[in-house]
């Protein structure tokens, strides 16, 4: 009998541990502070993100307030990695035209990247490995204290394959995301997986998340993106890798985009 009670108590205790962990869900504002004093680079998908954040800030001016959002509509992962800035391509943020100059300019604590749509990386996965490593290494030189994070490539709709004559592109994107994850882990970067959150049962981007039924995101799609960002921050907290309550170290130069 005594043994039975002991075993039952042990099992009950084990059952309560995950419940206790889940109970410590941080609030949205705290979760989004993970992205404070940082910069995010991206292509036209980030334009949608930027518009969404602008709308959110109409009612909540603190929403991702110190996240510098730097989209460049048609930029490729390749061009961004090479620090290429010409008349035709390049970022444009506070006078900076490359990811590296902008990250340095804003004293980014973290650098987030959403690029690959315009390469397109699904069919250039092997070459993309070198570009990803280049970004991690180059950022390490210009903002040595910053961590570099790559978002997984968002899925495309079935219509993308028809429009672009790439019927297997989603499968190629899935493979690319695995390569991206592995490359990040092996080279000091971080991978934020979120592709699955956008997909329907057919493994494609849900049309309800897209403006053009090809690859661009609407507000509902960006809301999913933001949720994935919160989930990632929660995961980092749960793993003990991030403490939102830790006092920041005083630095000689405060971030340009902090107010």
């Amino acid at each position: 009998m005594k043994r039975f009670i002991q075993v039952t108590a042990f099992i009950l205790a084990l059952a309560f541990i995950p419940l206790a962990a889940c109970a410590d869900r941080l609030d949205d504002s705290t979760l989004l502070s993970f992205y404070a004093d940082s910069v995010i680079f991206g292509d036209s998908r980030l334009q949608a993100f930027r518009r969404y954040v602008q709308q959110m800030r109409e009612t909540d001016e603190t929403f991702l307030k110190t996240l510098a959002i730097a989209p460049a509509e048609s930029i490729s992962l390749y061009a961004a990695s090479m620090g290429i800035s010409s008349d035709d391509i390049g970022f444009n943020y506070r006078g900076g035209r490359t990811m590296y100059s902008i990250a340095e300019r804003v004293h980014a604590r973290k650098v987030f990247i959403m690029l690959g749509l315009n390469d397109p990386v699904g069919i250039k996965a092997d070459k993309a490995v070198a570009w990803i490593i280049k970004i991690i290494n180059w950022m390490g030189k210009v903002v040595p204290d910053a961590e570099v994070y790559f978002f997984s490539e968002t899925p495309v709709t079935k219509n993308y394959g028809v429009k672009k004559n790439r019927p297997n592109y989603q499968t190629q994107l899935d493979a690319y995301n695995e390569i991206l994850k592995e490359t990040c882990e092996q080279n000091g970067g971080h991978y934020i997986g979120m592709a699955e959150a956008f997909k329907g049962e057919d493994n494609y981007l849900k049309e309800e998340y897209s403006t053009d039924n090809i690859c661009h995101l609407n507000n509902d799609g960006v809301a999913v993106w933001i949720q994935c960002m919160k989930d990632y921050a929660q995961e980092q907290y749960d793993l003990g890798l991030w403490d939102p309550y830790a006092k920041e170290e005083e630095t000689a130069e405060p971030a340009d985009n902090a107010e």
């Binding site: 518009r51 602008q54 460049a72 509509e73 035709d88």
Partner: protein, 151 residues
């Protein structure tokens, strides 16, 4: 003496009323822009971050970009910028920066968004006195001129 005081008070009343009635640029934009409801306002941070226009350079502004969730195409460059500069030098500076911004968007869209490219190519930065306007893809061809006019 009483008559003089009355005249002065009446003049003051008119001046205050006129000042209160002066239309702000956001109000003006709302009145003039036919597609106002499909546009999202930009704020001072956006002007600084993306166009490098400093807060000290203007006294009033209305800047809007299209909400692509409310329209049927990704291929549009619809945006509106109207600013009242702080002085002549600032007006010149703002006009230059808006033109640089237009060029940047023009080149970014050249190979991918033909309609956006066409719209940006046709747009022009206009300046009259302290007012500076860049209107892209306006549904009303007179939009820029209307925004430029000071009442």
């Amino acid at each position: 003496m009483t008559k003089k005081i009355l005249i002065i008070l009446t003049a003051l009343l008119f001046a205050v009323t006129a000042a209160l009635a002066e239309e702000t640029l956001p109000e003006k934009a709302k009145r003039i822009l036919q597609d106002w409801e499909t546009l999202i306002p930009l704020n001072e941070d956006d002007l600084l971050d993306y166009i490098n226009i400093d807060r000290e350079e203007y006294t009033d502004f209305a800047c809007l970009t299209v909400d692509k969730d409310l329209i049927e195409t990704e291929d549009t460059a619809r945006e509106v910028f109207v600013l009242r500069a702080a002085d002549e030098d600032a007006a010149q500076s703002i006009a230059k920066k808006l033109e640089e911004y237009r060029q940047w968007r023009l080149h970014a869209n050249r190979n991918y968004n033909p309609e956006s490219y066409r719209q940006l190519e046709q747009a022009e930065v206009l300046r009259e006195g302290l007012m500076v306007v860049l209107s892209v893809a306006a549904p009303d061809p007179d939009e820029a001129e209307l925004l430029l006019q000071e009442e």
